[in-house]
């Protein structure tokens, strides 16, 4: 099932009009953070793969292209989840779409 297939999109229990971002959600049974970026929304896994600290307070950097854990500066591409300054590390990232006031998420392959 491709990410473009409507069936792959999972509704999130977040009201985008009123929620504080990053907002906690669940996609595919995994806890995620939904970030608001310049380009819309993006989902990332809950914790940093480096040492497991929460990515809730991670900062969006690189003109919206990357996210950086505040604890040790491990930085990941929001497009693919690949580590930038920490090769070999990767986070799961999620496409987030808004439709009729409802957010949907699908894991980025």
């Amino acid at each position: 099932m491709s990410a473009d297939s409507p069936a792959a999109w999972e509704p999130l229990a977040i009201d985008p009009a009123h929620a504080q971002f990053p907002a906690r959600a669940v996609c595919g049974g995994q806890p995620i953070w939904v970030l608001r970026t310049n380009d819309g929304f993006r989902g990332i896994q809950e914790t940093c793969p480096h040492d497991g600290r929460p990515l809730e307070s991670a900062t969006i950097v690189g003109n919206g292209a990357m996210v950086r854990c505040i604890y040790h500066n491990y930085t990941f591409k929001l497009s693919s989840g690949a580590g930038v300054n920490c090769p070999g590390f990767r986070i799961a990232v999620y496409d987030i779409r808004e439709h009729d006031g409802q957010l949907f998420a699908a894991a980025t392959p």
């Binding site: 040492d51 505040i70 040790h72 500066n73 930038v84 300054n85 090769p87 070999g88």
Partner: protein
């Protein structure tokens, strides 16, 4: 840099603390020809005077634990040196014996801050992935002949042998490293503090039994497993016994290994470090470490007297590393390495590595540094520049510096493309990294340099600048191992051709 070409400079009216001589008074310090010319006494008629009333003046600070080179290093190492009051620092394990030639090639003469080396027991040096550092399998060989030759050749540069003490190691590797250090005539410098949760009794405490007088154990206020306190918060007897034998304790604040609760409990039990160091690196410079001065403020907050703090960044580390002939004191005739700072009476928040905060009433703020008599005004923001600590690969275009490569550098890149074309590698997930392959890739870099009779410094400069905007110096094999092979081969040819428009 603020040049001061005057033949003599009187640093007047500062509160001078020189623990090596016991001096603790308001007086003048005169610098001339890059050395300490006088303490007190009449002012030279020809001297320029800098009035430092209200400031403290000490020997230039020594930071025995920084990461200026390698996978944790900085583009601008002086930003954590002379611009922060530190006149001498020691690279804590970036190079190993197999990468030491690269360390020398890339770092010699690069810093105004005096740079010394602690060499890691793993031939590649520190890899920079915490969960790999504790796997003894990636030590590979201990090439004793090359160790002896390397240390003999660079005796003045190399100041200690570094190893981490981990439960996964057990005591055997620590004994091997201790034996190697003895063979080489170097102190052993040992990381404690597990990177991950371990089960059962931690093996890292073995190092407190194995280390001997003059060896240094760092991260002694770590909040991770393998620390100095037992489960009841009491200093372990084995730690006390090591201290009695003359083993030295160091802080190595870092991004993982300083805990306020541990520090407060240990300090209250008079387990006090002999040396205070920062462990500054890419991954902690934006907090919680910031600077060695910030770590010193932490000790003010713990209640350590200012003179005792100064001792731990001047004469104590100088003696521990055999540098007392050139650093750590204000002895007349010694190099004019001087740090000027003030103690600010204003509340500051100081975090440990676990976001635990304490409010301190005072903090130590560097004002200026003199290195061999040359003045540098403090600039604590300099190290915070993202370009200094964020090594980002220029994926879209070759960096602008490629346009200035020499013909030989381009020929080297072409040869390197051919060498690497015969080697398969993948930037695999960190836990599966093929560390042995890093050595294979490094040999290819060195062969390509030799083929073109290009010095290692110029070769590595061409390699780094083909991929990154700012001149980070990293073990070349590890550097390549982390990049996509197809991208590397394409980029090398593109830059070698020299015809592509640069960003």
């Amino acid at each position: 840099m603020n040049g001061s070409a005057a033949p003599a400079v009187v640093l007047a009216n500062a509160h001078v603390i020189d623990p090596a001589s016991g001096l603790d008074a308001v007086t003048d310090v005169t610098l001339r020809d890059g050395t300490i010319a006088a303490i007190g006494g009449p002012r030279a008629a020809d001297a320029a005077t800098i009035d430092l009333h209200g400031h403290y003046l000490t020997p230039g600070w020594i930071d025995v634990h920084v990461h200026a080179y390698g996978t944790l290093g900085f583009a601008d190492p002086d930003s954590i040196g002379i611009y922060q009051g530190v006149t001498t620092f020691v690279e804590a394990g970036g190079p190993g014996v197999d990468t030491f030639a690269e360390f020398v090639a890339t770092m010699s003469g690069r810093t105004a801050t005096s740079l010394y080396a602690g060499v890691y027991v793993r031939p590649l040096g520190i890899i920079g992935l915490t969960f790999i550092e504790d796997d003894v399998r990636n030590w590979l060989d201990i090439p004793i002949e090359r160790w002896i030759d390397t240390v003999a050749e660079h005796r003045d540069l190399i100041r200690y042998l570094k190893i981490g003490a981990f439960e996964r190691y057990g005591p055997g590797p620590l004994k091997l490293a201790k034996g190697l250090a003895e063979t080489l005539g170097l102190p052993l410098y040992v990381h404690i503090g597990e990177f991950a949760a371990t089960t059962g009794e931690t093996g890292s405490l073995d190092i407190f039994r194995i280390a001997e007088a003059g060896d240094i154990i760092t991260h002694i206020y770590t909040g991770n497993l393998g620390g100095v306190l037992d489960t009841d918060g009491r200093v372990r007897p084995v730690v006390r016994e090591a201290e009695r034998r003359g083993v030295l304790f160091d802080i190595g604040f870092g991004g993982y290994n300083f805990s306020w609760p541990v520090a407060e409990a240990a300090y209250a039990q008079e387990l006090v470090p002999h040396i205070i160091s920062s462990d500054l690196q890419q991954f902690n410079v934006t907090g919680p470490v910031y600077s060695l001065a910030n770590v010193l403020s932490v000790f003010l907050a713990l209640g350590m007297p200012l003179g005792a703090i100064v001792e731990r960044v001047t004469c104590n580390p100088a003696q521990a590393l055999g540098l007392a002939d050139r650093a750590g004191s204000l002895q007349v005739g010694a190099p004019a390495d001087v740090t000027v700072f003030r103690v600010e009476d204003a509340a500051v928040t100081l975090h440990d590595c676990f976001r635990v905060a304490r409010t301190a009433e005072r903090s130590i703020v560097p004002v200026m540094t003199f290195k061999n008599g040359q003045r540098y005004d403090a600039d604590l923001a300099r190290c915070q520049d993202e370009a200094n600590w964020f090594m980002q690969i220029a994926e879209a275009h070759p960096p602008a510096a490629c346009a200035h490569f020499s013909t030989t550098q381009r020929a080297f890149l072409r040869s390197l493309n051919a060498e690497l074309g015969a080697i398969a590698w993948q930037p695999e997930a960190a836990k599966r990294q093929d560390i042995r392959k890093a050595t294979v890739l490094q040999h290819a870099v060195h062969r390509a340099a030799a083929t073109n009779e290009l010095g290692l410094r110029e070769a590595l400069d061409a390699l780094y600048r083909s991929f990154v905007e700012h001149p980070f110096a990293v073990q070349s094999g590890l550097f390549l191992l982390r990049l996509e092979r197809a991208f590397v081969l394409e980029r090398l040819l593109e830059v070698a051709a020299g015809s592509t428009a640069v960003a």
